[in-house]
Symmetry: C2
Subunit: 299 residues, 2 copies
């Protein structure tokens, strides 16, 4: 597949995700809640998780309408976590995706509620009713809800954030750092791949390979995030640069050094490609391309 | 059924719910997160929502293991909403169920994360895997996730809280007040009944009657809450009394007056009983008893 075909695929996928978010995140939720939810998730972000869901679904020749719902649900969980993470009691950040953060724009109470409602909405989107029920068979609804809940919860993202909270100002070794990031960022990225795969019926070996791929790029993403935090300006990132250093948080750069962190990112990218090669899936080219994008990005 | 039989049923049901919460809310979640989650949900609360789930399941002769999971999931959503609601940016309350609130005990960041993780855990509990997967058939997992998500989200509890937030200090008429409470408290109480009913296969008329019952006691609960807020001391309530008045929030007492509010509660209780009579269900006696408990309580 040449570059322009890949770009065209990405553009189309992103348009589809954006339109679905626009349709499903309710403008009409009461008392400004819908406005805060839409502000927190529309018009911004790389949409890496949705792209992983859609690419994994294509790799297993899965059900596209179900994958689109999974893509939106994962992005809603990601966006809610950013809203809560930015609040004064957590990272106290005022800039996100180049805009004032949700609590700066709408107040802390509305920001907390918007995040809470977005987590619930993720599971609403996964369990369509009435005329849309056919888009996701019931057994797949259950499987997607289970995967998403476990990636978002105490053993995944929320657990990783708790470790992050406790780790500020403390030295972590590489093992502890990896455990934190596997939960905090990796779990949801890996779940994106697994949810896309669940929309089809991959053979066990392919399923395992996709899981390995998801684990590798999940960690690679965070290593690159840590690198960008020290090498890029806030304008490029669309969020406050250097904040991990300022907050005295352990990162791959502080623990390994910049060059070893870069090497680690490359190694993980190779592992992701090796997993895809093992998968035996004929249509994994977009997953391969996304692995490269995760590592070769500047924001 | 005589009083002691009812009390025995309640005691057994509560023990079962408590044991399940103890088993499923993870003590081992990292970096103090599990401790905060358990503090926020164990050893406290009336467990009205779990009792409604279990009583509704019995009324339709449904699957008990599934109903127990639904009971725990609903209580997790309720408990997380209290944790977030008590935070300084919302109600800023320091006392809950007779103990310091979660953010007082563990800090605001951990309280927010514990609430977030508890919402995710609710959906984990509803989607058991491996050896426990048989407890809830996949189609029922999907149905329970959908009911819970919609009750918790923008159209239900979170939406009601947003209206509540915006209403502070403003006059509301009875219609607007009812709309707020139907979402804020009523949606999850009604969902408790519907989730219990989903564990069986009630006829459409019985299903509708149970839905009506749930709507009536959902609203009755909040009317009585508003009454207790002005008539009871903090020690009896286990939370700060008079806080709605202090916060200048519209309540059934401020909008209708105390006597009319009491009359409203009695009327809703009668509507709940009438719905059960309509249901044609032979084993709805515990739902009837719970309707009385909702209205005749002092905390």
């Amino acid at each position: 597949m040449n570059d322009s075909a890949i770009d065209r695929w990405m553009r189309q996928a992103l348009e589809e995700v954006e339109a679905a978010l626009m349709a499903w995140v309710p403008a009409g939720a009461p008392a400004g809640l819908g406005e805060a939810m839409r502000y927190g998730v529309l018009d911004g972000g790389k949409r890496l998780r949705p792209l992983l869901v859609l690419a994994a679904c294509e790799a297993v020749d899965g059900r596209r309408p179900a994958a689109l719902r999974a893509a939106v649900a994962v992005e809603l969980i990601h966006a809610y976590s950013l809203i809560h993470d930015d609040m004064p009691c957590m990272d106290n950040d005022v800039l996100r995706r180049g805009k004032p953060t949700v609590h700066v724009q709408f107040g802390q109470a509305q920001a907390m509620l918007a995040g809470d409602a977005m987590q619930a909405l993720a599971f609403e989107v996964l369990t369509p009713e009435g005329a849309e029920a056919h888009e996701v068979p019931l057994a797949l609804q259950a499987r997607l809800c289970g995967l998403l809940a476990r990636a978002a919860g105490h053993a995944g993202m929320a657990g990783g954030q708790a470790i992050d909270l406790a780790a500020t100002g403390k030295p972590l070794d590489e093992t502890a750092l990896r455990d934190m990031h596997r939960r905090k960022t990796g779990a949801l990225l890996q779940a994106s791949v697994l949810m896309g795969a669940a929309c089809g019926a991959p053979a066990p070996a392919a399923q395992q390979a996709l899981s390995d791929y998801g684990a590798a790029i999940g960690l690679a993403f965070q290593v690159v995030d840590d690198i960008l935090d020290v090498t890029q300006a806030s304008e490029t990132l669309g969020k406050t640069a250097g904040k991990d250093l300022d907050a005295n948080k352990p990162t791959y750069v502080t623990v390994l050094g910049l060059e070893a962190a870069r090497q680690q990112a490359r190694l993980l990218c190779e592992q992701a490609h090796a997993a895809l090669a093992r998968s035996g899936l004929a249509h994994a080219v977009r997953l391969a391309m996304l692995a490269d994008k995760v590592v070769d990005r500047d924001s």
